[in-house]
């Protein structure tokens, strides 16, 4: 491949114009193209290679080592993984992460789709609403976490005041309760992310030809029927993409939980990323934390591969 692709970009006039005298040989041209290409990529590549590529590969190797900040690395095979599957905290974190995903993915998806459909109509002020709804996504996490913690304050927070006002005498304790802390985190995260996925859905909605709706209208289809029989099927590629992105980001959840609950109360909101952080960076157990990283990596990789497989099938 390399030998043939090296040429088409070069025009004869340019080679003779540049060559020091007579046309250069195939090999020197090849060499020059490599030098030229790398000269562009190198400044970025140096940083990328040492701080992304090497760590990515290293994390795989690290999971087979017994290594902490006090001892030198030693090959232990699968011992880290064995320890991991017998570790209660790991399973709690995995369960919590899955719980978060099960709540976060469908709720964000429905909210994003709902808002996108509403905003896709020709209404006055649509631009304002789009801006307002997107803004939580780029609001700093610390601010998001602290505001939600206040809104959800069990005794005097506005959310529970509202719940009491509509007749719920014993509203949830939210982040102070082991049962309700995760729903509280999910609530804040749905609020934060819906604008982002709404933009994706809006882009998808704009690709649906208007004639489809007009035809359905003439046939007497109700708004609801049009939504189910035209909008939803036409949005399938977008929904698919959104679903994958949401699932991956759910398994990677980290900072929101860290700032909002720090994994508590108890271990009720502890997620996988926090285990990696605590074990690897706070405790300095490099080998063990990398084994947990592998689990996260494999989950995300599986989701990505499934996406590619299904997408290819739907394109056929």
């Amino acid at each position: 491949v390399a030998g043939t692709t090296a040429n088409p970009a070069q025009v004869p006039g340019r080679i003779s114009g540049r060559g020091p005298g007579g046309p250069p040989s195939q090999a020197s041209r090849r060499w020059r193209s490599i030098r030229l290409g790398w000269s562009f990529i190198l400044p970025n590549f140096l940083g990328f290679a040492t701080l992304t590529l090497v760590p990515v590969i290293a994390s795989l190797a690290l999971s087979f080592l017994d290594w902490d900040s006090y001892s030198s690395p030693e090959w232990v095979g699968l011992a880290n993984f064995e320890r991991m599957i017998h570790n209660e905290t790991f399973w709690t974190a995995l369960r919590n992460t899955a719980y978060y995903a099960v709540g976060h993915v469908p709720l964000t998806l429905c909210a994003a789709l709902g808002f996108a459909v509403l905003l896709n109509q020709k209404l006055r002020g649509v631009r304002f609403f789009r801006t307002a709804l997107f803004f939580p996504y780029i609001t700093s996490l610390v601010a998001v976490a602290v505001v939600w913690n206040m809104l959800l304050s069990p005794e005097v927070g506005p959310v529970n005041q509202l719940l009491r006002a509509i007749g719920i005498d014993n509203p949830p304790g939210w982040t102070t309760s082991t049962t309700w802390a995760m729903p509280a985190v999910i609530l804040a995260s749905v609020w934060r992310d819906l604008g982002y996925y709404m933009i994706l859905y809006l882009a998808g909605l704009q690709t649906i030809p208007g004639e489809l709706y007009e035809a359905a209208h003439v046939d007497g289809a109700s708004a609801w029927q049009r939504f189910w029989n035209i909008t939803i099927p036409s949005l399938r590629p977008t929904t698919f993409f959104v679903l994958i992105m949401l699932t991956i980001s759910s398994f990677k959840v980290f900072d929101l939980v860290q700032v909002m609950t720090e994994g508590g109360p108890g271990r009720s909101t502890l997620v996988l990323s926090q285990v990696i952080f605590r074990e690897g960076i706070t405790q300095g157990r490099f080998g063990y934390s990398s084994a947990v990283s592998m689990v996260l990596f494999v989950i995300v990789l599986t989701i990505t591969l499934v996406q590619f497989r299904l997408q290819r099938r739907s394109e056929l």
Partner: protein
């Protein structure tokens, strides 16, 4: 709710009306209902911001009133001047601005430069290298943050701004975003410049860069906002109070003085304000940076 009550009534009153006007009227009602729904839901989404702003202008003991007071009885603007004395906000802001600007400039420069190599120069091994770039985008950062930390520790860079700059300025995402854009620029343009004797670097600087302003703006804004809002990076790497960013400073303030509700909200407003300004100025570039990825 208005929708369900209005429609049947209308059908009763004008049973013999011709099809077209009735349909139009139904459409109007439906539109009004959609509008109402949109307004109500949007207000619900904006409530946390309203709470933030309103609390930032109250006294601590007024924040959690029963019932909730959305407009403060008295506006305590002094919160916004007092906070600068309560915490070293200026230092935090300066650090945040420094990190965000440096990282954005480096990311845009090296990213767009490398993207030219990937999009416009043909050389053996290019596509394999690009695959390596893309593959790392799919790897969750948490999966390799520990090896990253070890490298930084060995290099003695933990607890320096340099560590964060190095970590965030060379992301594969920037290269990917710019390359995709460069592919849409026709080769004939650079070809013509080449015939005029411009070097490849000259073509990048004088032809491609000016043509890719929208993509550069998207990348710059996304990088700036991400760096400004980043919590985990500074949280892991910066222990010295003097190096902290606004996010870390705010978080520590909350931890230390968790009953100073009003002041906490004042800090939150101040931390969000720069992002709001940038977002309002460059809104369309944000959307452009995001939307194309969903269409594939």
């Amino acid at each position: 709710m208005t929708m369900t009550t209005t429609r049947p009534v209308e059908a009763d009153v004008v049973p013999a009306a011709p099809v077209a006007p009735r349909r139009r009227r139904v459409a109007t009602v439906r539109r009004a209902a959609a509008y109402l729904l949109l307004v109500v839901l949007s207000i619900a989404v904006l409530v946390p911001f309203a709470w933030m702003v309103s609390s930032s202008l109250k006294l601590d003991n007024e924040v959690f009133s029963v019932p909730v007071r959305w407009i403060p009885a008295e506006f305590h603007w002094e919160n916004f001047t007092n906070i600068w004395e309560r915490i070293p906000l200026l230092t935090y802001l300066r650090n945040s601005v420094f990190l965000s600007l440096t990282i954005t400039v480096l990311q845009v420069l090296t990213g767009s430069f490398a993207a030219y190599g990937f999009a416009k120069v043909r050389f053996p091994g290019r596509d394999a290298l690009f695959l390596a770039y893309i593959a790392t985008i799919a790897v969750p950062w948490q999966a390799y943050m520990v090896p990253q930390y070890i490298i930084m520790q060995k290099a003695g860079l933990v607890n320096t701004h340099l560590s964060l700059i190095l970590l965030q300025a060379f992301s594969a995402f920037g290269v990917f975003l710019m390359r995709q854009y460069y592919l849409t620029i026709p080769d004939e343009l650079s070809e013509a410049a080449r015939l005029d004797g411009l070097s490849e670097y000259g073509i990048w600087a004088r032809i491609i860069l000016p043509l890719s302003k929208p993509a550069l703006a998207s990348l710059a804004l996304l990088t700036f906002v991400n760096t400004w809002n980043d919590y985990m990076g500074p949280f892991i790497y910066l222990t010295d109070n003097k190096l902290w960013t606004i996010q870390l400073g705010l978080r520590s303030f909350i931890g230390l003085y968790d009953a100073e509700f009003a002041m906490i909200m004042t800090g939150s407003v101040l931390s969000v304000l720069p992002i709001l300004v940038i977002f309002l100025l460059g809104q369309k570039y944000f959307v452009r940076g995001i939307a194309p990825s969903g269409l594939k």
